[in-house]
């Protein structure tokens, strides 16, 4: 088998991080690093890059493009996984340049209405999952419901 892959996990804190931690078992045997906002909860992570939580500030967005480029040059990830939110946008954008595929899981907080980040990621990510069947109708055919960390609805 080839060497283990390196996975860039990117998410905000709060529920996004809670979800990211719950799917870690899918990464077993591989290497993970995080790109997150600086918060009490994210400081407890190992292998993490933390940036200021000023997502709506365009200067910070541009800075994140530079930061992610540097990090990707060093880390050379093979896959990006995100549970939201907008912190994923600069990561997946730079991922396009480095030809790193992305999996975006719409946060369970989005029940019936898409998030702004979700609308962008729907077109940018190679795979796009939602966690409530109610939300499928709001997206197009690229969106999939394959089970949920919160909902009991069966995956089709």
């Amino acid at each position: 088998m080839p060497e283990p892959i390196k996975i860039c996990c990117t998410c905000s804190h709060g529920g996004h991080l809670n979800e990211m931690l719950q799917i870690q078992e899918a990464f077993e045997g591989h290497t993970v690093f995080y790109f997150c906002y600086d918060a009490d909860t994210t400081r407890r992570l190992e292998n993490r890059y933390l940036v200021p939580n000023m997502a709506k500030n365009p200067i910070e967005f541009l800075k994140n493009l530079v930061r992610v480029t540097r990090i990707f040059r060093k880390e050379r990830p093979d896959l990006i996984v995100s549970t939201g939110a907008e912190i994923a946008i600069p990561v997946v954008l730079i991922g396009k340049l480095f030809r790193v595929p992305a999996l975006y899981i719409e946060c369970g907080a989005q029940v019936v209405r898409p998030s702004v980040t979700g609308r962008v990621m729907y077109w940018m990510a190679e795979e796009f999952y939602v966690q409530w069947p109610e939300l499928l109708a709001a997206y197009g055919p690229r969106a999939r419901f394959v089970g949920s960390l919160i909902d009991e609805a069966p995956a089709p």
Binding site: G14, N18, A26, D40, A109, Q110, G147, S148, D151, E152
Partner: protein, 162 residues
């Protein structure tokens, strides 16, 4: 003991802190509040800002009722310990959140019978005195989602260089 959790949101949630403080004072029951970044401090409750997740879950396992903002992390943890769960959506008009998406979460939780949504703080004392039933067989459908993530990891692994 009532456990109250405001999550990691950086905006104040004074409405909920104040009503829970009144309940602690009037009922004499212990109320423990996870405040996070909410600046309003209660007078009659025990409180902390953040604790390691395992310690927080341990407190929740011993709670008679869990009252939380309707954040998804809060919901995931509260549902996982199987205690009566009351949600209060943070609302934009009180500057408690940037939008009103927590109403959708609270409604989904109520629709599926996992907990009770409270919009009016005047109802809170009665709801805490008579909390909603726990859905004993609550079981989120995690395995297929984690399996799908694993499948993508394996596909990338297989395709890598050769």
């Amino acid at each position: 003991m009532i456990y109250v959790t405001l999550g990691t949101m950086f905006l104040d949630f004074k409405r909920l802190v104040d009503v829970m403080d009144d309940i602690a004072r009037d009922s004499g029951e212990q109320v423990i509040v996870q405040l996070g970044m909410s600046p309003t401090r209660p007078q009659h409750c025990a409180w902390f800002d953040f604790l390691p997740r395992e310690e927080v879950l341990e407190i929740q396992r011993h709670a008679r009722v869990i009252v939380g903002h309707a954040g998804i992390g809060t919901a995931l943890d509260a549902l996982s310990v199987g205690r009566p769960f009351v949600t209060v959506p943070r609302l934009k008009r009180f500057n408690e959140h940037m939008n009103d998406h927590q109403i959708e979460i609270a409604e989904a939780i109520e629709r599926r019978g996992w907990g009770r949504k409270v919009m009016e703080m005047s109802e809170m004392a009665a709801v805490c005195a008579n909390p909603p039933a726990v859905k004993a067989d609550y079981r989120p459908n995690k395995a297929p989602l984690i399996g799908a993530v694993r499948a993508m990891v394996e596909r990338v692994h297989r395709d890598r260089k050769g």
